[in-house]
Amino acid sequence: MKKKIKIKLNGKLKTINDNSTLFYIIQKNKIPLAKVAIELNQEIVDKKKIKNINLNNNDKIEIVHFIGGG
């Protein structure tokens, strides 16, 4: 059986396969990449490089976009 890791995605705890990439998370959650910004452990991620970013246990991912506001 594949080793599992725990990550936090927008504040929610998720269990995923070890060695999953950030790209996998984006695809799995059908995130429109052009309309978001991504942070990994409070560091902004270059969206072009997400295929090469492997996730580790306890990683914190934040995916944000624009919503209505004053």
Partner: protein, 257 residues
């Protein structure tokens, strides 16, 4: 008449009304109100993508950022660290450099925390952002923001969402006299005439959200604000008459029968 344009950070705008995109009943209502207001700039907030409900409508599907200038805002940030994080993320979404900085200091009155605001303005300017800064109506603080590299000064009329209108006209007039930067009244307007007054005081524009979004008829209010901003601007440029204590008849005094 000479072409009269609002110029922010070398970008020209015909409309002097900036509108917020919050508090509407739906995205559809928001988009329609913006259309009617004639606004070319809208403020937007940066928040987490809803991972569980992917069917939630996206702002960008209703308001095209290629046609309307998005002004990312740090509303809800209470210190410099949060504000910087928010705007760096906003820039990452699609290269937005023109931003609105708003660092609040108190959850009840929502007044700006000016020390944190000043600090953030300096850092953001150094990082290449063009920062439009929400501030209190203090001419001294406005001057310091200008010296820190702000690209527009945005004093409040009254607390955010209060609808009280311009509380301190004198301060706004002093700020107008001292700065060549775009001066935009941000927050606290309640009705269209408040916007006209702001423009007659010489402001370059107004930013309105709640007064339109929460009006009983938001579409009609959007139109009212559009017209009030145009009327106020024209009135300001026309040069008003002097106020006098006594009457001065409009008809000739000669040839009376």
């Amino acid at each position: 008449m000479k072409r009269d344009r609002l110029i922010i950070s070398k970008k020209n705008f015909i409309s002097r009304l900036i509108v917020g995109t919050g508090k509407y009943k739906s995205m559809k209502e928001c988009a329609q109100a913006i259309k009617l207001s004639g606004a070319e700039i809208v403020t937007v907030a940066v928040r987490r993508v809803n991972i569980t409900n992917k069917k939630k409508p996206l702002l960008m599907d209703y308001i095209d950022p290629k046609k309307i200038t998005y002004l990312p805002n740090t509303a809800g940030c209470f210190n410099s660290k949060e504000a910087l994080r928010t705007l760096r993320l906003a820039r990452e979404i699609g290269g937005w450099k023109l931003v609105k900085l708003e660092v609040l200091g108190d959850k009840k009155n929502l007044f700006p925390e000016m020390i944190e605001t000043l600090k953030s303005t300096e850092i953001l300017t150094k990082e290449g952002f063009k920062v439009m800064v929400y501030c209190n109506d203090d001419p001294l603080m406005a001057k310091r923001l200008e010296n820190s590299g702000a690209c527009a000064i945005m004093p409040l009329a009254a607390p955010i969402g209060s609808g009280l209108g311009i509380i301190n006209e004198i301060n706004i007039k002093i700020i107008r006299k001292q700065t060549k930067l775009p001066l935009i009244i941000d927050a606290g307007l309640g009705q269209a005439s408040d916007a006209a007054i702001a423009m007659e005081l010489g402001c370059d524009g107004v930013l309105v959200n709640t007064a339109i979004a929460k009006a009983k008829k938001p579409f009609q209010m959007a139109l009212a604000f559009k017209n009030a901003v145009i009327a106020g601007r024209q009135s300001y440029l026309s040069g008003r008459i002097k106020k006098t204590l006594y009457g001065n008849p409009s008809s000739p005094k000669t040839g009376i029968i």
